[in-house]
């Protein structure tokens, strides 16, 4: 095992003590970028002014201020309702149960509305599926509602340009085309709505030549086919991660992107949390993968294989288990020795956990999927960790149908193509062929809400409503149906695609005279289906009302499928064979999906959990290990360099980033970027790698590229936006002069005693251990904390404990063992607190505004490190260093233990940020939200007409309870003080004590794994105080006596130390 020189590191640069990192880190505010900015040609011209000019300006502004002051105050209007709806009390939020549906991705949600505007998404905690967790995408979906790029009416498309038309005109043209005969094809991503399916059926009944093709941008076609073959049901089983003691995942990023990540993360975290240390038990998670996915970063062991070795890896595991169980073995393709020996161990462990283990794979090839299903069957997992009675319907796409459709289109037999949902000209493996085929279709209608690549190639757009404006239902699992209800009237003249279909099919079930025809349709559907098959409710109205209120209906579980009847020998020959050469893996990123969220700036600015890069996709290149204690970078290039990527004649320029845990000979890059026809947030962001995708020999969409050529450096991304080295905390290095270990961010500014302060290089930021040696970790934490507390007790500062003991004292607990790095909390924080989006260039200049970041640390083996995520926000120190240095007391402490920030008092000295050891304070360098009173103060340094979030449509997403900060003030996490105040007020109004759970921070409610607990330390019965009892709890930097209110629980892995991966 190659042991690194450091116990923990954050990046390759850190590991090899890069002098540039050192130079960049010791300054709190890296000024180089601004100097660069001003040094650019032209910038200075604008700013050039003499002393006389300055006096002139001064005189003018004084005069202007006087004139402005004497003017009358502008008249403001107060506009009440004409007829106030009973359900709305302006100033009080209402919540509606609904669902987040994005193709097959599904989440039960609650939509928070204020004055009739949806402003925030929360999880629906009564759902048996997710129990209230959310994902970053669901959190950000509310912003897409206010996308300025949305289509505002039906229209005709000519050469990518939309000319609007009325719906009547559109309907007439569409119907004419439909009646002309010829092939009619409907294309959509997976549809999980029973009512939508009924609408499609009605359409097919009216037009017999119509056929419907479902696809999934990141395809699970083989998984579905494998279950068809093995169990006779084309569905995805429900996986119960909470009941699995051994989890083996081949390539499946089930915590990040695969099928139902929130549901899986919830179950997974149940097996990973250490609540009772006396009988500590954890599941063991093996991840077999080529690049480090978010799921892989959480695994106890990562077994590295090349993408093409997955077939061999699965086959060898199958053989080991089959031979133990006396089943037929197959011919397994060869894989690397390390993986082979590791998998042999995994097999033994699986055999020891029969019925309590789980094997999954996302490899889109039939043979691999059939083998994995068979492994589960052999291990007795069917019926325990893998169940079919409540099978998931979240993927239904069929790659072969898509291929068939494309050849039909190419042959010219399709007359009308209606794309109901999705962007098949861009987001799937045969995009280029689809575009080619589309050119031969006469009428091409796209129902996308924004103009996308498919819509631009179409002849008509029939824009659908946003999810938050739609009626509908969703059946993600056989035994659960969820409601979708609108929380706002359509902002534009758009129509739900289901309604469009029904209107085109002239369905008699659609009452077009009704105010909301599709609502009536859904209701009618429910009356004849779900209502008539239930017995609980007497009348349909009460049934409907209660279902709508809860947002879901649970149905009886169907019968479990029979035994696995697959013949593995028949498919063994179609297993993927190792390629031998270099390979590149194309994967789905946590935030962008297949590109459908490209126009969403919240997701664009969300840092990737592993690389911590934003605004783009980056080619992961491996770090070469020289056999000693040093790394070499791929072709000597630095992160942010541009290279030319060529595969099979297709070429694209991409930006590289070095990645730990990447299998040698393998590269990886996320799909879904580089879109052209999309809102300004996503246009030309990242590189378009869609055309590298292809179909494999068995007719399934492949996400692997073989034999890529990567050129030498061809340029550099001048705005390489990676937040890894921003707000550096706890990075140590060697003093360039003395060689002594130092904290890189602690350079002294005086000339006397020049150099680094160099104290406390062993800072207590992360505590981690292994399950087998839990006692050691407990002892370590105990000793350290005892020592720190003994030191801290000698403090000269006065104690305010008397004050904190009264009323409330807010605190937080974060379980590092449950945090998977999914970043739902960071997006939730942006939504809740009106945190501005700053754009790529500003992030490059270290100006990102996120109040909550997730720090990622590597540790363990250098070639294949383990990872720990640490959500880091204001720690609300009861002895806060930032408060002492504020010259105007804009930041001070409340009696409830909150570190308060008064924006209107802040004068922007930034001393506080300088003095914060956790680096959680953010400064508004520019007027990102145009909150400034004087428009002249809104600079256009980014060269954009109007910054993100500054137009009136986007501003509708703002939380009215939180101040929109202007330029020049400092801001940071407030512990969601607006929620605290609201919870307190509700309790006061009801004349009762504040109960535990009345106040939950936005990050806490967003978390799919319940890693974050917020509460009142003074409430003895609170969940928070229960969580804090664990001996694994510590505070970050407790030794510096800041007395933070945020507590962390140590990271524990369940590693088998005898296994070298």
């Amino acid at each position: 095992m190659k042991q690194p020189s450091k116990e923990m590191w954050v990046s390759a640069q850190d590991l090899r003590n890069d002098p540039e990192l050192l130079a960049a880190s010791h300054r709190e505010f890296p000024e180089s970028s601004i100097v660069e900015e001003l040094g650019q040609e032209g910038t200075m011209d604008r700013l050039e002014s003499s002393r006389r000019d300055f006096l002139k300006f001064l005189g003018f502004s004084l005069g202007a201020a006087t004139v402005a002051a004497s003017c009358e105050i502008p008249v403001r209007k107060a506009i009440p309702y004409v007829i106030k709806p009973d359900s709305i009390v302006p100033g009080v939020a209402s919540y509606y149960a609904s669902s987040f549906v994005d193709g097959g991705d599904f989440l039960p949600i609650l939509v928070k509305t204020r004055e009739g505007r949806p402003i925030k998404i929360e999880g629906n905690s009564i759902s048996p599926m997710t129990g209230g967790g959310t994902s970053a995408r669901a959190q950000a979906s509310v912003l897409s509602l206010y996308d300025t790029n949305r289509l505002q009416s039906a229209g005709k498309v000519d050469d990518g340009q939309v000319t609007s038309m009325t719906w009547d005109e559109l309907d007439k043209e569409v119907k004419a085309s439909l009646n002309k005969g010829g092939g009619i094809r409907l294309v959509s991503r997976t549809v999980i709505s029973p009512s939508a399916k009924a609408a499609i059926a009605a359409f097919a009944a009216k037009y017999p030549t119509a056929k419907w093709v479902q696809y999934d941008p990141v395809s699970s076609s083989a998984l579905l086919d494998a279950h068809q073959m093995s169990y006779g049901v084309r569905a995805i089983p429900s996986y119960h991660f909470d009941q699995a003691e051994v989890i083996v995942s081949f390539d499946a990023d089930f915590l990040g992107t695969w099928i139902s990540p929130v549901e899986y993360a919830k179950g997974y975290s149940k097996g990973r949390k250490l609540n009772n240390l006396n009988s500590a038990k954890m599941s063991r998670h093996y991840q077999v993968e080529s690049y480090m996915s978010m799921t892989g970063s959480n695994a106890d062991h990562r077994i590295m294989v090349k993408p093409s070795e997955q077939g061999g890896a699965i086959a060898s595991l199958y053989n080991a288990i089959a031979s133990a169980k006396g089943a037929v073995t197959i011919n397994a393709p060869a894989i690397n020795d390390k993986a082979k020996s590791a998998l042999a161990k995994v097999a033994t462990e699986l055999l020891n956990a029969e019925g309590k283990s789980l094997v999954i794979t996302s490899v889109n090839n039939l043979a691999e999927q059939v083998l994995v299903a068979k492994i589960n069957a052999l291990l007795g997992n069917d019926g325990t960790t893998v169940t079919m009675g409540d099978a998931s319907l979240q993927r239904q796409g069929n790659d072969k149908d898509m291929t068939g459709l494309i050849s039909e289109m190419k042959s010219g037999s399709v007359n009308t193509l209606i794309v109901l949902d999705g962007n098949p000209a861009f987001d799937q493996a045969q995009g280029a062929a689809f575009r080619e085929g589309m050119a031969k279709v006469a009428t091409r209608i796209s129902c996308g809400g924004t103009l996308d690549e498919t819509g631009a190639l179409g002849s008509h757009v029939a824009p659908t409503t946003h999810l938050l404006e739609s009626w509908g239902d969703a059946q993600p699992k056989l035994d659960q149906v969820y409601m979708i209800q609108p929380t706002i009237s359509p902002l534009f003249k758009v129509r739900q695609w289901e309604e469009s279909l029904l209107r085109w099919s002239e369905s008699s079930d659609l009452d077009i005279t009704a105010e909301q025809p599709y609502y009536e349709y859904v209701k009618k559907q429910w009356q004849t289906t779900f209502f008539s098959s239930q017995s609980g409710a007497g009348s349909f109205t009460s049934f409907w009302e209660s279902t709508l209120h809860d947002g879901l209906l649970t149905l009886g579980s169907g019968s479990s499928a029979g035994s696995n009847s697959a013949d593995v020998t028949a498919i063994a020959s179609t297993l993927t064979k190792p390629s031998g050469g270099d390979e590149i893996q194309f994967f789905e990123s946590i935030n962008m999906g297949a590109g459908q969220f490209a126009g969403n700036p919240w997701l664009q600015e969300m840092a990737d959990p592993i690389t911590r890069c934003v605004w783009g996709n980056y080619l992961f290149v491996p770090i070469g290990w020289d056999g000693g204690n040093d790394y070499t970078f791929f072709q000597g290039m630095e992160d942010g360099d541009r290279v030319q990527l060529d595969i099979n004649g297709v070429s694209q320029t991409v930006t590289i980033v070095h990645q730990f845990g990447l299998m040698p000979g393998t590269f990886a890059i996320a799909v879904g970027y580089g879109r052209q026809t999309v809102g300004k947030a996503g246009r030309n962001i990242g590189s378009n790698v869609q055309d590298f995708l292809s179909m494999n020999a068995n007719g399934y969409a492949a996400n692997v590229g073989l034999a890529p050529t990567i050129s030498a450096k061809v340029g550099r991304d001048k705005e390489f936006a990676c937040v890894q080295h921003h707000h550096t905390m706890g990075v140590t290095g060697a003093d360039p002069k003395t060689g002594k270990t130092i904290n890189v961010d602690e350079k002294t500014v005086s000339t006397l005693g020049e150099g680094y302060q160099g104290s406390l290089v062993d800072r207590s930021i992360i505590f981690r251990g292994n399950l087998a040696a839990l006692g050691e970790l407990e002892e370590k934490i105990h000793h350290k904390r005892e020592e720190f507390q003994a030191l801290n007790d000698k403090s000269l500062y006065p104690s305010y404990d008397e004050v904190y003991k009264m009323g409330h004292h807010w605190g937080m607990h974060i379980d590092l063992n449950a945090c998977t790095g999914c970043s739902a909390c960071t997006v939730a924080c942006m939504a809740e607190n009106n945190v501005p989006v700053v754009g790529k260039k500003e992030v490059f200049r270290h100006h990102e505004m996120s109040w909550l970041r997730i720090d990622r640390y590597f540790y363990g083996e250098m070639e294949n490190p383990s990872v720990v995520y640490q959500p880091m926000m204001c720690q609300h120190c009861d002895n806060a260093p930032c408060e002492n240095v504020c010259p105007v007391s804009a930041t001070n402490h409340s009696s409830e233990g909150l570190n308060q920030m008064a924006y209107n008092r802040c004068i922007g000295t930034r001393y506080c940020a300088n003095n914060c050891p956790y680096k959680v304070r953010r400064f508004n360098w520019l007027d990102y939200t145009t909150a400034d009173l004087f428009p002249a103060n809104e600079p256009r340094l980014n060269g954009e007409e109007i910054p993100f979030g500054a137009d009136n449509l986007t501003r509708m997403v703002l939380n009215p309870d939180v101040t929109v900060r202007a330029r020049g003030v400092m801001e940071k996490c407030s512990f969601c003080v607006q929620r605290i105040q609201e919870g307190k007020l509700t309790a006061k109004k009801e004349g009762r004590a504040l109960r535990d759970g009345d106040v939950k921070s936005a990050c806490m409610t967003a978390c799919p794994t319940d890693a974050i607990t917020f509460g009142d330390l003074n409430n003895k019965d609170s969940q928070l105080n229960k969580d804090l009892e664990s001996p694994l709890v510590y505070k970050v930097l407790e030794e510096v006596n800041t007395r933070p209110s945020v507590n962390y629980r140590a990271r524990v892995l369940n590693r088998d130390e005898s296994l070298e991966s």
Binding site: A69, I73, V75, R76, K77, A78, I79, P80, Y81, V82, I83, K84, V89, P90, G91, V92, E802, K805, M806, G807, H808, N892, S894, S895, E896, L898, Q900, M901, A902, Y903, N904, R905, A931, D961, V962, T963, V964, S974, V977, Q978, Q981, K984, L985, A987, K988, K989, G991, R992, A993, L994, N1018
Partner: protein, 469 residues
Amino acid sequence: MVNKRLIISPLLSLVFLLTAFVGSAEVSVEAGKQLFKANCAQCHNRNMKDNLTGPALGGVTERWAGREELLYSWVRNSQAVIASGDPYAVDIYNKWNKVLMTPFPNLADDDIGSILAYVEAVYTGTEGGAAVAANAVAVVEQPKTNYTLIYSVLALLLALIALILARIVGNLDHMHRVAAGETDAPRPSIRQILTSKSVIAFVIFALVVLGGYTTVNNAISFGRQQNYQPEQPIKFSHVTHAGVNKIDCQYCHDGARRSKQSLIPAANTCMNCHKAIKKGSTYGTAELTKIFASVGYNPTTDTYIENYNNMATEDIEAIYKKWISDNYIADKELASLDAKGEKAVKDQWNNLVQSLTSEKDPKIGGPIEWNRIHNLPDHVYFNHAQHVTVGKLDCQQCHGKVEEMAVVKQYATLSMGWCINCHRQTEVQFKDNEYYKSYEKYHQELASGKRDKVTVEDIGGTECQKCHY
């Protein structure tokens, strides 16, 4: 609070009587007053003598004497009582145009007892004193002692002394110079004194200080709008509504008890009463027609106009002009509209159009755009519910005697100093609210007499993030 209790004490005997009547110790006039305000005041006149939407309640116990239980069930659900066929109940029902009273199923026996006690107290006049006193304490008048006179007398005196002293110094100086043998020792003229360096320096200094003081003071009150009293699109008078007719503030401003905003009522709230009261006491049809035109109500036929949003302006004009002119004719007892009347109708209509339309919204129908009087900066969080429901403040405390304002004006400065001052002085409603249990130390101190009150400041009410976040 203390003097209120004193005044209430004479009522105790009455309360005792009523206590015996309902057989419970929990009945109180004070509670009854709160309950009446919250539940009954919307429809029943508070003087208990006159009818409003509902009948005058004075003497109700007499009218139902012997059948108290039935009265109680009437309050909870009058429909049931009517259905039971009680002749008196049926009689009232018919007398009041078969309009049902809002049921109050949640009121307990004690609650109803309290309300009845309060009703009787007001009716018999025994509560009157308390009510007046309560009103008197409701508005905390800020002390307006005039120090100007004292200051000017003081300034005059000082100036006089300065003058005398200057004179003495001048004389002494002159004498000294004469004594020193200076033959030519002219006294400096007034002009010389005034143009001397020291005087000029002093004047400049004084000007700078004064100017600075004024600038700073004015800069601080920048953007404040105390006494702001804009004309409103409808001449709505709080004197008529809250003053004369004593409609509870929170009947219309229904957000105050439960929301951040107190809320300007929606036009349909106006229609609750103005469906019946179609002509105003002051302006006749001139102002009320604006509400009808806003919601699309045809006062002539007493119906809401269908598809009003898409109606042509001419049709709308015809409807409301007819209403105005009909009323004009009826009022003046004319056979048909005379020339003067025609002008009046035209003027009223033009005024209506002007009030209900703007450049941005040229439609007559739709919401009324009121001029907002109380404006807080965006970085201030203020919640009405906190102050009204939890703090139990009277509206008048911040808004002044709105019931005496024909045109509302901003009473308070709404400055931060004004907020903070109040938070420093105001006592928290500590005792009755379970929420404050967590402040154990204060409870102990109150019990031991170490502390006589807990102010908002004591529980953190002056910390930044109570209002700024």
